[in-house]
Amino acid sequence: MIEKLKIIVCIKQVPGIMEIKINPETNTLIREGIENIINPFDTYAIEEGVSLKEKLTASEGGSLDVEVIALSMGPPHSEAILREAISLGIDNAILLSDRAFAGSDTWATSYTLSKAIKKIEGWKIIILGKQTLDGDTGQVGPELAQILNIPFIGYASKITEISSNKMIIKRLMEDRYETFEIRLPAAISVGKDINIPRVPSLRGKMKSKSIVIPVWGIDQIDMDEKECGLNGSYTQVIKIFSPEHKYEVKMVHGTPDEQVNEIYSKLKELSII
């Protein structure tokens, strides 16, 4: 009797803002040339999903059929990161995309994801990156887990044991490690310390080119327009602005010795020296 066990990895495409520069004249962001990338923490989530599949297959392969599915909610071009996930060893991918989802806050996102997940039979583990580069709230993981009524361990730094019905996880808090045992189904979020993401494999890359990725919209997941997107959100952005920089920058000119002297005086003034 082969039991099916599905691992769902939720990933998000974000603007590659690590490369953002500021136009020194206008003090505005230079957005040109910013490519969309997979949220960096999500690559660790993908690696963990694939890794868990390998571990489970090694220990229970005879009786367990493990599948890792990548799920992403976003505009159509998010498909690119799902293909990237396939090249890293993910088995299948689903794109959740619909105009109605736009403007979702973390609640609406979590709720929409939960509706999609409920359509997938046999899921036992959900893995997310601990936060995104653009929103960085880290809220979707716990909110999603709450909606699905499953335990959630955030900031997991190591999964020390995994079986088809439970996990033992170590997580790093501010100054201590906590080890928990939780029963499946469950959700976790991961950061950089949990693993080293693998490099794509050649067969993975070839599969990522040819695989068909289904697109699920509002109809496929039985949602109402009122429940998703901006309408389904509890919070709303009413203003976006550039931060005023509190200080006038004083550029220190002169020869290196002069520059050093000026800094030295300042530090002395501040009683640091």
Binding site: M18, K21, N36, P142, E143, V237, I240, S242, M251
Partner: protein, 409 residues
């Protein structure tokens, strides 16, 4: 619900396109066109000088929230003490409660009363809700969430604040999801809209280069979290009772103000089995313990180069920090990392050496009192948040600064 550009008003000036972080605006035939990438963040609406962009079709029926009153703060505890962020929150909450002219309360969930409990009465706290049980001996988010939900549903605060600690970042979203209300994380500023009497929650996005003001439109309480060390602890002042013209007597009021919340313990079962707690034995660097941080970035080029920063930091009584680039390159260990994915710091003096000032780094240090930046690239973003900027060769400047300091000793 959709976003539309009024083509009559639009002049194709390109400003909206330049502020859009999501590549959602194209200028076609000198008119702005918004595509499916739009996430309704309103940045373009804000930026348009001609009021040519509008979101329409939104639900506008507002519910009646008149039974939600008051500002409530969750005081997280650790090692039997209320942690600092609790007091930082009380400072801000006091200000909000004053503005709205409503009561200020706090909630504690613990197995034993914390040792520093009395310090909360330095603030004009009307009520402390104390949920006490052995069930709360360890920080398990499901039982804590249940406790907070009970308190919120019973006492109905209109605003609920908590610290964005690691525990808080799991606990509070769960509370918001159970209650089904809005939550804004990592706020850097909280204020009140005088007309609508609602909470304005400002937080950084895109690593801090853009600030967003957010409101919770149609649910209560309005929940927000704040990261530790972001807001100041204003030494709480005991409110002078203006009617009586004298100071309220604190010790009498303290006992009155504590309410022990009763609940059915049997319903508080946890799904988590805590097996073990291990204190982290790796080098205990707490960047926040130091007044001076000397931080190194990609420009240093190697782990050996951090030696001069260590020396400088030592001479100034400080500690070495690092950008993510330096930590990722294994030049220095992760506890030294400053930034969005590292630590948020606000020392007296932050010296950034060879750090370009990638947005995620700035998010972790831009509230420092004084920032001194040394970089050979004059267009490095770090200079935007620096008080003093030196464009120069760090391998020249830093050693010279070190000898200057040493020679004067």
């Amino acid at each position: 619900m959709e976003i539309k550009v009024d083509v009559q008003k639009c002049t194709g000036c390109n400003i909206c396109k330049s502020v859009c972080m999501y590549d959602a605006i194209e200028i076609v035939d000198r008119k702005a066109l918004i595509n499916e990438n739009c996430i309704f963040c309103s940045a373009c609406i804000e930026s348009c000088k001609y009021d040519a962009i509008e979101i329409s079709g939104m639900e506008t029926v507002l519910k009646d929230f008149s039974d939600y009153k008051g500002v409530c703060v969750y005081l997280e505890t650790y090692d039997n003490k209320i942690i600092d962020v609790g007091f930082e929150l009380l400072s801000t909450a006091e200000m909000l409660a004053d503005k709205l002219n409503v009561s200020l309360s706090a909630v504690l969930v613990c197995s034993d009363e914390p040792g520093n409990l009395n310090e909360i009465f330095n603030f004009r706290l009307n009520k402390l809700y104390l949920v006490k049980s052995h069930v709360f001996e360890n920080n398990l988010d499901d039982v804590f969430a249940k406790a907070l939900v009970q308190v919120i549903n019973r006492y109905k605060p209109e605003i609920f604040l908590a610290g964005a600690t690691m525990f808080g970042r799991t606990l509070i979203p769960k509370v918001a999801a159970i209650i089904k209300t809005g939550l804004t994380a990592d706020c850097t500023a909280l204020s009140v809209d005088d007309d609508k009497k609602i909470l304005l929650q400002t937080r950084p996005t895109f690593g801090g280069n853009i600030l967003a003001t957010i409101v919770t439109k149609n649910s209560r309480p309005q929940m927000a979290t704040v990261r530790p060390h972001v807001m100041e602890i204003k030494t709480g002042k005991i409110k002078i009772d203006e009617k009586n013209g004298s100071e309220s007597n604190p010790s009498v009021n303290q006992k009155d103000r504590i309410e022990y919340v009763q609940f059915d313990q049997s319903k508080f079962k946890t799904k988590y089995k805590l097996i073990n707690i291990e204190k982290e034995t790796e080098e205990k660097i707490n960047l926040n313990d130091y007044d001076v941080i000397v931080s190194g970035g990609r420009g240093l080029g190697g782990s050996e180069k951090f030696a001069m920063l260590k020396e400088l930091a030592g001479l100034l009584g400080g500690v070495v920090g690092a950008s993510r680039a330096a930590v990722d390159a294994n030049w220095i260990s992760y506890p030294h990392q400053v930034g969005q994915t590292g630590k948020t710091v606000n020392p007296k003096v932050y010296i950034a050496v060879g750090i370009s000032g990638a947005i995620q780094h700035l998010a972790g240090m831009q509230t420092s009192d004084i920032v001194i930046a040394i970089n050979k690239d004059p267009s490095a973003p770090i200079f935007k948040v620096a008080n003093y900027g030196i464009v120069g060769d760090m391998f020249d400047i830093v050693p010279k600064l070190i000898s200057r300091i040493k020679s004067s000793k």
